[in-house]
Symmetry: C2
Subunit: 249 residues, 2 copies
Amino acid sequence: TRAFHPGITDDSFIFRQLLDYKSYTYTYLLADSTTNEAILIDPVIETVERDYRIIQELGLKLIAAVNTHVHADHVTGSGEMKRRVPSCKSMIAEVSKAKADLKLKAKDSIKFGQFELEVRSTPGHTNGCLSYVWHEKGMVFTGDALLIRGCGRTDFQEGSAAVLYDSVHTQIFSLPQHFKVFPAHDYTGQTMSTVGEEIKFNPRLRRSKSEFTDIMNNLKLPYPKQIDKALPANMVCGIYDDISTASSV
Amino acid sequence: TRAFHPGITDDSFIFRQLLDYKSYTYTYLLADSTTNEAILIDPVIETVERDYRIIQELGLKLIAAVNTHVHADHVTGSGEMKRRVPSCKSMIAEVSKAKADLKLKAKDSIKFGQFELEVRSTPGHTNGCLSYVWHEKGMVFTGDALLIRGCGRTDFQEGSAAVLYDSVHTQIFSLPQHFKVFPAHDYTGQTMSTVGEEIKFNPRLRRSKSEFTDIMNNLKLPYPKQIDKALPANMVCGIYDDISTASSV
Ligand SMILES: [Fe+2]
Ligand SMILES: [Fe+2]
């Protein structure tokens, strides 16, 4: 049999990228293989059952359901996951004004086992958009701020092209170029990129700020189909029971 | 700013999992970051343009388009990729009788830069099904032999449940349990598994051989929609020009 070099593979952590085929959303499961503490970034309500099964099978203790922002295209699975895992805390940006167990702001850190993510504020798609940086493993979870060769739209919620440009350039493009970029969505079947690639090849964000705002202000995108259902649900963590209350606020 | 531990991230190679939303197929791009030599496992004809763009942007030299088997659900992108990258060699199992630049058999190795994949014969879904093991990085590309919590069907082409059972148990489940499993398809939005997980949780393959063959012989699956178009095309590497000839054989 062959030579096998166990030193090269890093088995200190578990990383799973999960996909919702309906909304093209990526959910990320991160865990410490030693303590089994795990967090789930951007769970989707329709795939909670699948994600819960994986968490159980891997023997993980889910401590947090972390949202990058108030999504307009799908309902978060945070609430449904909390029903199944009572120890799981929902998290989202404080400035989003959404309901959650823990409200995050820039420079906070989210700890799971021996690891931690740094919280960075990356508004522009929405005011409360956060990105999460896993410095030790060279990964950044960018939500809708930076997509692979694209970015989130800036024409609804509290969108602002100028603000998004500054967010991406100061908070994401300033990371080491080899950092892996994991967005909340991709519509082309790509699963990751790197900071260096997006600096060089992102057709919108590699340009000047004024060119970028021109592009963003002329996209003429249709009104998002799910938004009237998704926004009120996401303001209360995706728990359907609370939606009637939330919508009437 | 934060502590950053560059030693922990393995930047010796590039790994990209790519997805075709229509056929739920995964294509894998593997490359040596030093020599830039790259191979593409199971390219899909509809996504060749995207994959070619990524290869160009990353500055890679594609040396091979490697197929795990003659797919029945989509047309391979090998031929279209060869048109764009003349140095790229198409590869498939010799016993598949499909046209290709290089015919593979068990124990061959596919080299790219400093790396190599071991070719393993894993028939049962088709006679020519191969799995590719990247020992150094702890990965196995299983085609349709082993799927995440599932396996390829065994009721058409040269399918045999008993043969598939032996293939998976002797060639894949014998690998170290932490080896990552990357299949040719997933219909549930999961992107990877491990050998250990599939041994424990695969609802079909964790069972005895007779239970497995019972399950597989009672699936009553519909005839694959794309098969009459896909098979003749894949027998000639996906080059449409040759299909009329191939179909009349
Ligand atoms: Fe969004
Ligand atoms: Fe197949």
